[in-house]
């Protein structure tokens, strides 16, 4: 028997409206009818599309005054406008109409609105906001040290403002005849014209028309739309395990509004040309969570630029010994074979931050994005649950305030002792998504609140949670970043938590956290929230060392070439290492930070490195280049360069850091001698970090991946999983398997 296409049971079946008998009957019919099964599948796609798209429509909450009136059983006629209160006759009529008789009972007009403090705050901000709109500038009131605006802002401002929504790939015109990328430092990307990736790095960006631009220094913005275009066809709805109720639509939002900064992978550098490698540490972990979400929830390989290898490595904790001396972190060096290129050496630099006996009192201000786009299950509801986990860790000595921003910003919870969990949780529960994003006014209010309740010697932190389209509205990103920086100087730090799948403006968030002496995490599941808010709360909240920079000097007697794995957007110029005004990364309590170098030792075939002509006027560099190639003469040459007593060293690691409250840095040094260990002799932590790095390179399609494959990653990771008390490393294995399966398709 053929199943009729017009049979309403088909749709009812898809929507779970048939009872068991009816279902069985229909399934029996379908089993014999492949054509009807095909049709059913097409109907399913239609229903999934509806279930994904329709709930995205904004669902604006009632006004606070209306809620209040309901709960107190009184009807408060409602305010027309938060700023203007001029009453238009037509409005009065509509109010009367809408609420019928009751309003009449309550007195003729009832303009005497009882404003609670929160609402008043609201109004004030709205005014300020509109003032800002005219002035076009964020005002950082009562914060000194407001250094004069650098010239860059004048340019950065307008353009950035207009285009923030779309994308943030910025690059300048190719510089002719640049043979290698100068350091690309994200932190400077506020001024687009400063970013200069090398000419060859631009090649993949085929979106650029070559003659589109004439002014060589002007930057451009490219919308990255790995677009699904108009048709938002979706993968089968899939359960985001933590939030079953609304998981239906969580799985399949559009991709095309996410933007990632392009990463130009570090290439090998000749030691004789570049004996120093300098970078800022990075404790962010967002990239790993983004990769996980893309692989496991969206069932696709992540875009290469979303993969920051250092963040993937640093997602995991390693068993480094805790520091013992004055230095707030221990430094742990290890070297063994590189598993993807066995002739090369892999050097690991591992820092372990000290663990505090007791967490200092904390003054936290949650700055929460409640704009309409936060409505889906993997955003606001997940955010609320995440923050409840954090609140569960607090005591009466801590303080929490909540500021929300959307169309208007407001203080929904004034600073409250951490022990008053009920009040905090209730305020969180009340949050609803609605309105559009305007982070600018919200962030000012949040910082002001944090400042009012500043705890001397404690943790003072604004925790920004958003789906990342941080549309700063009245201001521009340059102003915003500068404000965050100013407050960081005033010891109010910023933590950024990214949520959700569409909209994510990865670069802005990372940059804000970076400037705000904070960290950037991406929360894709409640398990991830638990990791950041409970297990590693010390690292999330308490900074034990700031502006931590690493400079490695390689010994030309031992090393031909080297390559820093990851940290592309954290590179520093060699001079910046000793420059204490130069901002760098922070280490949180208990955090570990790991960096890897692939090193080409003497005596093996050198990697191909773009040739640089010999210098005409300076001999040293040219002579030393010859070292790599021949065996006879170089010994003497090396002797000239490297003093005998340190000739056997592979490299020297130097670190600079400041105490959390300090302004001058301390330097520590650790030379490393290669003990010639094979890969199998390496520690489990070393192997695991190596496997994560390999995975990252494969996801990025890195030309440096050598003989690596996902199978190799699995093999390496499996043997180094170790105790893995929280299951993170085992989860990593799942990611690798998933990536392997996706790549095979």
């Amino acid at each position: 028997m053929k199943t009729n296409h017009d049979d309403p049971r088909l749709t009812a079946y898809l929507l779970g409206e048939l009872d068991a008998d009816e279902r069985a009957e229909l399934e029996a019919e379908l089993a014999k009818d492949p054509e009807a099964r095909q049709y059913l599948d097409e109907l399913r796609q239609a229903t999934e599309l509806l279930a994904t798209e329709l709930p995205k429509e904004e669902a604006p909450p009632l006004l606070p005054s209306q809620r209040e009136s309901i709960l107190t059983g009184r009807l408060t006629p409602y305010r027309r406008n938060r700023v203007l209160t001029i009453l238009v006759p037509a409005l009065a009529a509509s109010v009367v109409l809408a609420v019928g008789l009751i309003v009449l009972l309550d007195g003729e007009r009832g303009r005497q609105i009882t404003m609670d403090p929160a609402v008043r705050e609201d109004t004030e901000i709205s005014k300020q906001e509109s003032a800002n709109a005219e002035g076009g500038k964020i005002e950082i009131s009562d914060f000194r040290d407001n250094s004069a605006a650098p010239a860059e802002e004048a340019v950065g401002g307008r353009q950035a403002e207009a285009k923030e929504l779309r994308a943030d790939k910025r690059m300048s015109e190719p510089q002719p005849a640049v043979a290698e990328p100068p350091p690309v430092v994200t932190r400077r990307m506020t001024a687009p014209q400063e970013a200069k990736p090398a000419a060859d790095s631009i090649a993949p960006m085929t979106a650029m028309a070559p003659d589109e631009e004439s002014a060589p220094q002007r930057s451009r913005e490219i919308a990255i739309t790995s677009s699904t275009g108009g048709q938002v066809l979706v993968t089968p709805a899939q359960k985001a395990e933590e939030m079953p109720a609304e998981s239906f639509r969580a799985a399949s939002e559009e991709w095309n509004r996410e933007s990632y900064q392009q990463i130009v992978e570090n290439s090998f550098k000749q030691v004789t040309e570049h004996p120093l490698s300098t970078f800022s540490i990075d404790v962010d972990t967002a990239s790993y969570a983004i990769v996980r979400r893309t692989l496991m929830q969206q069932h696709r390989l992540p875009p290469a630029d979303a993969v920051r290898i250092e963040e993937m490595i640093n997602y995991f904790t390693y068993d480094y010994p805790r520091p013992t001396g004055d230095v707030p972190f221990s430094v742990n060096l290890e070297v063994a074979q590189a598993p993807w290129a066995m002739q090369n050496r892999l050097v690991r630099i591992g820092l372990q931050g000290k663990v505090l006996e007791e967490r200092p009192d904390s003054n936290l201000v949650f700055l929460l994005d409640v704009s309409g786009s936060m409505g889906s299950a993997n955003k606001l509801p997940l955010l609320k649950e995440s923050l409840k986990l954090l609140v569960g860790q607090l005591t009466h000595r801590d303080r929490v305030a909540i500021v929300v921003y959307a169309g208007a910003s407001g203080l929904v919870l004034p600073s409250t002792p951490g022990s008053d969990i009920n009040a905090i949780v209730e305020a969180l529960n009340r949050l609803n998504a609605g309105g559009s994003t305007n982070g600018g006014a919200g962030i000012q209010l949040a910082y002001r609140t944090a400042k009012e309740h500043f705890i001397e010697g404690g943790v003072n932190r604004v925790i920004l949670a958003t789906d990342g389209d941080f549309n700063v509205g009245v201001t521009n990103r340059g102003d915003l970043v500068r404000m965050v920086e100013e407050f960081a100087k005033g010891r109010i730090f910023l933590t950024v938590l990214g949520f959700g799948m569409s909209n994510l403006n990865d670069q802005t968030l990372e940059q804000l956290a970076d400037k705000g002496n904070g960290n950037y995490g991406y929360i894709d599941t409640l398990a991830e929230a638990r990791k950041m808010m409970v297990e590693q709360i010390g690292g999330t909240l308490v900074t034990i060392a700031k502006d931590v920079k690493i400079q490695v000097e390689f010994n030309p007697a031992q090393v031909q070439a080297y390559r820093l794995i990851g940290y592309e957007n954290r590179l520093l110029a060699k001079e910046e290492f000793n420059d204490d005004t130069k901002d760098a990364g922070e280490i949180g309590a208990g955090h570990s930070v790991t960096a890897l170098y692939e090193v080409v030792p003497m005596g093996v075939e050198a990697p191909r490195i773009a040739e640089v002509d010999d210098l005409r006027y300076q001999k040293a560099a040219g002579a030393a280049t010859a070292l790599a190639d021949t065996d006879g003469a170089p010994a003497d040459a090396v002797e000239e360069i490297v003093p005998t007593e340190v000739r056997h060293e592979l490299l020297n690691v130097k670190l600079r850091y400041k105490e959390p409250e300090g302004t001058t840095s301390t330097k520590v040094e650790f030379p490393l001698i290669d003990s010639e260990r094979s890969y199998s002799e390496a520690s489990a932590d070393f192997k695991f970090a190596a496997s994560v790095a390999t995975f990252g390179m494969l996801l990025r399609d890195s030309p440096q991946a050598g003989t690596a494959s996902f199978d190799l990653v699995l093999e390496l990771a499996q043997e180094s999983v170790g105790d893995d008390p929280h299951g993170y490393r085992r989860e990593f294995l799942d990611l690798v398997r998933q990536a392997r399966a996706l790549r095979q398709r």
Binding site: P61, I70, R80
Partner: protein
């Protein structure tokens, strides 16, 4: 008629769960956020006075039904008043969409909203109540006064239409190979 006021917690819970959805629902009738909010406020005030045991097992359907009836009442009166377009515009409160939100809205419009907008009223209402508000056939039947069978029929016809449109646009995956991007 007035019974003991219902516990604040219960009303608060209902409000937390449904206020946004109801305002959105009401806006389909009022086309005006302020009026929609007023209707929803009124709906919850009625909930405060309702007999809880009579409402509790079908709270969603109750709220939507009351809200819908209030909207229709207001709408009928509204027609006599004939607000001009301009007056309606001026009633928008402060959190009117900034350009970003408008953009987002337009993108959605492009995808499915165009389709939804073209449906006959009764189909559109069923589609929204089903996919936007997650209500069952039975609840939709209670709210709209249509029979359950009729609700099922209207939904099926609408879903078929969307399927046809997707198919025509070539946006349909085949049963075997999912379309892969990147």
């Amino acid at each position: 008629m007035e019974t003991a006021p219902n516990s604040t917690e219960w009303v608060r819970g209902a409000m937390d769960r449904y206020e946004g959805k109801l305002v959105r629902y009401a806006m389909r009738f009022t086309r005006n956020l302020e009026a929609a909010r007023d209707v929803v406020q009124d709906t919850f005030l009625r909930l405060c006075r309702a007999e809880r045991h009579k409402v509790d097992d079908h709270l969603a359907a109750w709220l939507y039904t009351v809200c819908r009836n209030r909207c229709l009442e207001v709408h009928r009166k509204d027609k006599r008043l004939q607000l001009t377009e301009d007056e309606i515009l001026h009633q928008h409160p402060t959190n009117e969409p900034t350009p970003g939100a408008v953009l987002e809205r337009e993108e959605l419009t492009g995808a499915v909203w165009g389709f939804v907008g073209d449906l006959p009223d009764n189909q559109r209402e069923c589609i929204r109540l089903k996919f936007q508000d997650g209500l069952s056939y039975k609840e939709i039947s209670q709210i709209t006064g249509l029979s359950v069978g009729n609700v099922g029929y209207l939904l099926h016809v609408a879903v078929q239409k969307l399927r046809d449109e997707l198919k025509a646009e070539g946006g349909m995956k085949t049963l075997t190979g999912a379309k892969h991007e990147d």
